[in-house]
Each structure stands twice: as C-alpha cells, then as structure tokens.
Amino acid sequence: MVAGEGAALNDLLRTEELTREYDAKTAVSDVSMSVNVGDIVGIMGPSGSGKSTLFRLINLLERPTKGRIFFDGEEISYSRPDVYLIRRKMALVLQKPAAMNRSVFNNVAYGLELRQLEKEEIQKRVDDYLERLGLTESKLRNARSLSGGEMQRMCFARSVIVEPKLILLDEFTANLDPQNISILEKAVRDFVKQEGRAAIIITHNPFQAKRLCDRSALMMNGKLVEIGETWKIFNDPVDERTRAFVSGEMVF
C-alpha cells in the first residue's frame, strides 16, 4: 500500500498494482491509486518516471503487464472488444498536442461525430466550447496553423466536449504563457467541480498542483512514492523523497 492512500469502494477509478514492463525497463511499477468524482489529482515527478505511460494504461491505449483497473463500477481491460466504448467515458489530452489536418471546428467536433450526434447538436456544442476557450475566431482555420496556446486549448476543448467522466491531462499547460495557463486551469476546475467529473493531471509545476489539485502524488522510477491531500504532501509529507521534492532540493 502506498503511503497515504486509503481503500475506497465507490471510486470512479481505481488501479491495483498496475505495472508495465518493456523489454529491459519497468515503466510503471505496482501503481495502486483511486480517484473519486469531483477530484482533481496531480501527479508530479521527474521526466521518464512513467507518468505518461500510466495515463496510456488507464486510457486503455496500452496493455499492462500486470494489474487491474476498475472504472465507473466495472473492471476494464485493454483486451475487451468494446474497449472503444470504455474509452469514450474518458479523455486523454496528450503532452504533445496533436492536431488533425482539418479545421479547428472539425477537430473539436471529431469526438461528437464518432458518437453520431445530430448535426445541429454538434454545431451548437462545438460553438459553445470554442467560445468558452476563446477559439471562436479561429474556428475555420486549419488546426495545424494554431499557436502553441491555441493548440493546447483546442485539444482540451476536443477532449472535454465529449463529456467524459474522467479527464487525463498530461502537462496540458507546459510552455504556455500565464494567460493561457489561467484560462485552461479555470476550464479544468469548472469541468470537474461544476459538472461533477474528475481529472488527473501530470504536472512539473508544484505551484500548479497547489492551485488546482485536491490531492497530489509523487512518482519516481515507475513507482508512486506518495499520494495524499495536496496540503499534506506539501506541508507534512511522509516520504523523505516527497519532502525533498516539495522543498525544491530535488533537482531534475
């Protein structure tokens, strides 16, 4: 059991000893954690500590070597034939934004089109989300011509518009200016708190974890070192490595 993590039965997401080994390297090792509805959980840790791999495992994009995942009341797995239906209840925003070679509107509409919503409904919802994320004027531009900040906002809109129960954000504000960061952080907060959903964010920025996350975790060498209430992680951590990290002694 990882320090600070209690067992709960009604979690939206729970992983048990999730492990992913590549040929010579263990990317994710025995990660057990849970996320409740209304939670924003932050995962911090050095580059290469397995955070992004953990996201791909949870989003069923990769097959775990070992371990179990429970989500929304059932056990889920990579090998189920309806795996895409489970993925439709989550959304992953990748560290490196990926724009499809089509307009901003069509990028954001993509998930809704997969779900075969009515044309008018798609139109309405996309316009609404573009407005919320300040992209209305870029609506008809090719998404590949967007600036870094616009691109990140578009990717966020494209993922939350399908109203997933859980959103996984991988360094979603890396390399952005303060204004873009605050737009996106507000959008995450609104999404989780007002609409009763949950988010896990990977961040390199302890200040962002403090601003945004109810709970925070530190991951190193594929292992979850510690997870707990954000204030406790920063003020009264259990593990020595967490203490070093939050006090800034650990240099990446």
Partner: protein, 224 residues
C-alpha cells in the same frame, strides 16, 4: 495494315479510340487496385500481428513485379484450359484491367503502408482516446495520410498506363478491341511506321502527364 497512313489521312478516330481504351483500362486498374491496395496497406501498416515484417517486405519486393509475369499469370488463369477459362475474358479489356490491377496493388499498398505508418503516433492515440473504434480510427488515419495515399494512386496509374507486357499478353493488341497506346507503339515501330509510333508516343506522354497534372491541380485546390 495501313497504320502508317492513318495520322496523315486524318483518320484520327483510331488514335482517339486507342487513347480512350488506354485510359479506360489503366484507369479501371488504378481504381480497382486502389480499392484493394489502400485498405490492405492501411491494415498492414496499422495492425499489430505476427509476420507483419515479412508481409511488409513482400509488399515492397512486389514493387518490382514484372508486368510480363502478371500477364502470364492472368493468361494462365483465364486461358481455355485454365481454372477460370469459362469466363472467356482472355483477349478482352477486362483481362487487361485484371493484369494491370495486379501491378497496381503492391505499389498502392506499399506506399499506403509507409504513409499511415508515418502519421504521428500522437494523432493515432488521440483518435483512439476520443473513442474511435477500429474502423473509424483506420479511416481517420488514412485521411491524415491522404497526400501520401493520393501519391500512391498516382504512381499506380503511372505504372499501369506505361506498361506494355501485361496488356500485350492478355489483350493481344487486337485492332479496335484491345489495342492501347503502348501496344500500338510497339506494333507500329515493328512495322516500320516510325513516325506514327513517335506520334503515339507523344500522345501517351501527354495523357500520362496530363492525368498527373490534373490530379495535382485538384490537390492544390484541396478538391482531392
């Protein structure tokens, strides 16, 4: 045979007919070959399965598949004594289309493999993360690789319209029935109608390059 005089005498409908048959045969082979080659290439490029590397190598190797061998194969299959002899399509445009299709498939499939493989892994993950099932994800990735796929189709057409071996073997170069530009050029040259052959050569060049130009034009206007 008075082939050498036809251009001079102004009986141009022969040239027109031969040109149209070339376009019909090679165009059909390109469409048929693409309908098979694109999904095949996408499947090989995107799916994980045992023997994938070998299958890729075979596809790439088939780039060098000689037209004469393709002709030989179709000839055998559809000859009177062959397994599908009852269809009676030997020495018809249909047989030529099939022989050229065999030449188009590996090219289209191979270039499609390369194109879909090169689509950013992040796009592929994003598409699946947004809830695409296998069919939807494949379709989207092909769309992302569209420029490469169109190039594949164009190169496939280039191979079909330019080849002579397969068209000659299974078509037989029958005047008014299976004579296409390449086989006509061969015949006229052999008969000593050199100027006529050169004239047909120019027509072939214009047709082949014209189709490429037209497709480029469509592409630049994002109509393709």
């Amino acid at each position: 045979m008075q082939g050498g005089h036809r251009l001079v005498d102004g009986v141009t409908y022969d040239v027109v007919q031969v040109t149209l048959l070339s376009l019909y045969v090679s165009g059909s082979a390109t469409i048929l070959g693409s309908l098979i080659g694109i999904p095949l290439g996408a499947a090989i490029g995107l799916k994980e399965f045992g023997g994938k590397g070998l299958l890729k190598t075979i596809t790439y190797t088939m780039y060098g598949f000689p037209p004469v061998i393709s002709g030989l194969f179709i000839y055998y299959v559809f000859s009177r004594a062959g397994p599908l002899g009852d269809f009676g399509i030997l020495f018809t445009p249909t047989a030529m289309i099939l022989a050229q299709t065999l030449l188009v498939i590996p090219l289209v499939a191979g270039i499609t493999i390369t194109s879909v493989t090169e689509v950013d892994r992040n796009i592929k993950n994003t598409v699946r993360s947004l809830g695409a099932n296998d069919r939807q994800a494949t379709f989207t990735v092909i769309k992302e690789a569209w420029v490469g796929v169109i190039t594949a189709v164009m190169i496939g057409f280039g191979r079909a319209i330019a080849e002579v071996g397969a068209a000659y073997m299974v078509g037989g170069n029958i005047d008014g029935k299976t004579r296409v530009l390449t086989t006509a050029i061969m015949l006229e040259t052999r008969m000593g109608h050199f100027e006529y052959a050169v004239g047909l050569g120019v027509v072939l060049l214009i047709v082949a390059c014209g189709v490429f130009l037209f497709m480029r034009w469509l592409q630049e206007r994002e109509l393709l």
